[in-house]
Amino acid sequence: MIDLSLLTDGGVGWLDASGPASHLVLSTRIRLARNLADHVFQGRTSETEREEILATVEGAARESVLLRRATRFRLDRLDRTDRQLLHERHLVSKELAGLDPDGRVRSGASLLVQDRIGVMLNEEDHLRIQGLHSGFALDAAYAEVDRLDAELGQRLAFAFHPEFGYLTSCPTNVGTGLRASVLIHLPGLVLTKEISKVLQGLAQVGLTHRGLYGEGSEVVGNFFQLSNQTTLGSSERELLDHLGKMVRQVMDYEEQARQVLVRDAPTVIEDKVWRAYGLLRYARSLSFDEAMNLLSGVRLGVGVGLIPDVAMYTLNKLLIYAQPAHLAVAEGLAPDDADLPLRRARFVRKVLESEVGRRG
């Protein structure tokens, strides 16, 4: 079993809801795709070559300031539950964790992580430099990732083309190699049925949306990951500014939608959020999806001021620890154990009871 206590805040510092606009935005993630010039891309690497890549980058990381004390996880030496645990903490991609239905974990697949930044190694690209911040914090997240990129870039030879920029295994990432994602909660737009219009609008301005777990994941609990689609032809600054501007607009739409709901359907919305709270507080069995949807309802209730006394941090914590692998590890069960929904309900009740206090 992996020891996540090795990480500062268990690697979930971004959960603390301390960042800007935390009532709407859970987290901001930025990643830079980089490849070593001296090695072929991942699809053609041998096991030995992946070990070399690992050793080279780890050497550079040890000499760096930002990753000197990094904790290393070798995904290829972890069992499935542990890999899923790291994925549920948003520390590794589904691909690196080998969690796709037909996926296997690639030999050499590793994660280096120190505080809010880290590097996925032997992912689709040799390096995926990443940073994860609480709330809506594109600039802060990029500044850190950029510093790490510069530090590693001085010690490693990255594949770079004068016209195309940073070269990546998939041409969708070439150029800056930058993907910035904002994980945002949009129940107001979903309830007012405005969401598809908003998402279409975002697609037209070159942004894309994904679910809670990024690429290829479903939308659960009204959480959407909004990110830039293109990586070439604009500077990093332009990509971030554009995404930031659009996210602020989506935040405005969401606030407006919430105002409409509270103004035009106050009893419906009040019933909905308290019903969600009541179910979480007293249900005896909860599937993951149901828990996510109910948490979304309570989060909305807190956001519009209908439910006092529940901290965003408590809701964020439930969001992470009610996930299958987290719960399974805490309860000493397998992630597909039939008892899990019962344990989940018990866990949620316990957290709400101790952190929210008695409400009538």
């Binding site: 699809g43 940073y166 041409p171 930058l178 689609q229 032809g233």
Partner: protein, 163 residues
């Protein structure tokens, strides 16, 4: 029915647009549709890359596709491999298949020119040193091969200083 755009080829794609509650239908041939960024339903894939690769597979003359069997000298990958997997074999593939990739990048990103941070400017000294070291290592190999050990020792010393 002829294409509304070029009025030459047969229209095969019928695009219905609603702008300001006005419904208009455009009848386009495959080529003009592709130029407008519209794919025929059969070619629509989930990702922009997928749709592009599908379009290339159908033989639309977007770019001179490399002759089958053309191989990247470094990794041995072919453009066909890329079409099948969506992943390139190595960084040299970007040179080996430059023409079709340039076209792909234009369609994916609307540009082929990187405007972001430049890696080489970051530490040109280190890049130069790396190149010099590579050259010296090659000369060292040759010196050892020809049993010129005096020269080999000298090169090794220079390499030590450089590294």
């Amino acid at each position: 029915m002829f294409c509304d755009q070029c009025r030459e080829r047969e229209a095969v794609i019928h695009l219905t647009q609603i702008v300001n509650e006005q419904v208009t239908t455009l009848h386009l041939c495959e080529k003009c549709a592709a130029e407008k960024g519209v794919e025929s339903p059969g070619a629509v894939a989930k990702t922009p890359l997928g749709s592009f690769l599908a379009a290339m597979g159908k033989g639309t003359d977007l770019a001179p596709a490399p002759r089958s069997g053309e191989v990247c000298a470094r990794c041995g990958g072919t453009f066909q491999d890329f079409r099948e997997t969506g992943r390139l074999g190595c960084s040299d593939c970007y040179r080996s298949f430059e023409a079709p990739l340039r076209d792909l990048l234009r369609r994916l990103h609307g540009s082929t020119h990187h405007l972001g941070e430049r890696y080489t400017e970051r530490d040109p000294g280190a890049a130069l040193a790396r190149e010099q070291a590579a050259e010296l290592r090659e000369r060292l190999r040759l010196a050892v091969e020809t049993e010129d050990f005096e020269l080999a020792a000298e090169i090794r010393d220079r390499l030590r200083v450089l590294e």
